[in-house]
Symmetry: C2
Subunit: 172 residues, 2 copies
């Protein structure tokens, strides 16, 4: 299963930290890439690329001026569109079906999402039906879809690696 994340509603400056956390959670929990809708934010891009080169793997970050073109392109390439929204169907009721898909474009919005997205999505998915965060929605969605196998994912070509320790830090 390949999952790409489409982050919509990113406002440069104001959302930099939340979007950085979205990108890092996407990477850590096994997504291939994040596409951020908005002006290219070079500080954000460099930050993520630096972490990727340090901690390994092939995670990609890119920017797009419009979400519509990305959804169109990915749909035409066989991706199913899953939109994270507190109004959607419950994750626990839909995850089994979604696991049969080969490729998913996971759309994570901010507070205001264009109503059209709800219609374009193959799946509108809610994680808890309570308000929380794009960051936690992305992470818990991926953890469920990958059935926690991503927790032990090996990130290739890492320059730093953690050896899990009961107390303190052990890095190689």
């Amino acid at each position: 299963m390949k999952i790409s994340v489409l982050r919509i509603g990113h406002r440069i400056f104001r959302d930099q930290r939340i979007t950085t956390h979205c990108a890092l959670a996407s990477r850590a929990f096994g997504a291939e890439e994040i596409i951020i809708v908005g002006d290219a934010d070079e500080k954000l891009r460099k930050n993520i690329e630096k972490i990727s080169s340090e901690w390994g793997g092939d995670f990609k970050i890119s920017f797009s001026q419009t979400w519509r073109d990305i959804i169109k392109k990915y749909s035409s390439e066989g991706y199913k569109i899953a939109h994270l929204t507190m109004y959607g169907l419950r994750l626990q009721d839909t995850e089994k079906e979604m696991r049969k898909e080969k490729k998913i474009l996971l759309v994570a919005g901010g507070e205001k999402v264009p109503p059209e997205i709800y219609q374009l999505a193959d799946y509108n998915i809610s994680v808890t039906t309570q308000p929380h965060s794009e960051v936690s929605s992305i992470a818990v969605f991926l953890d469920h879809i990958f059935q926690s196998q991503e927790l032990k994912k090996d990130f290739k070509n890492a320059r730093r690696k953690i050896n899990p320790a009961a107390h303190g830090k052990d890095i190689s």
Copy 2:
């Protein structure tokens, strides 16, 4: 199992949004409360209290000038201290054991955590051993400890409730 979250490293203004997301994820994924170390941030407090009164439940938010007193107090009340850190033992290797506990104080740091916390913690726990976010660490930790039962938690006295929908929004 009762879980309280202790958020350390909160800096007023700079961390307001991330800490808000930490609080909302703590609430949505079944924690009882969040205690934030730092000056009382009234805007943050009001924001969380407003969401709780709208969406139900008894989630509490409070502030403390020092993490040391909170850890001492909760330890003396029988809480085990679980500290979220990318350097800790893997969640998937420790969650079964932790589920036997009755009460956990979950410590979620920012970038710089005092070394003493690693020693005071009964459990140092990593979620993926990769860098991501306090928000996703809290959510995935709680989801594992509660074995996803919190995803269908009923929040009492909610003034608004979502009826999960395949497309669009259905609120009662």
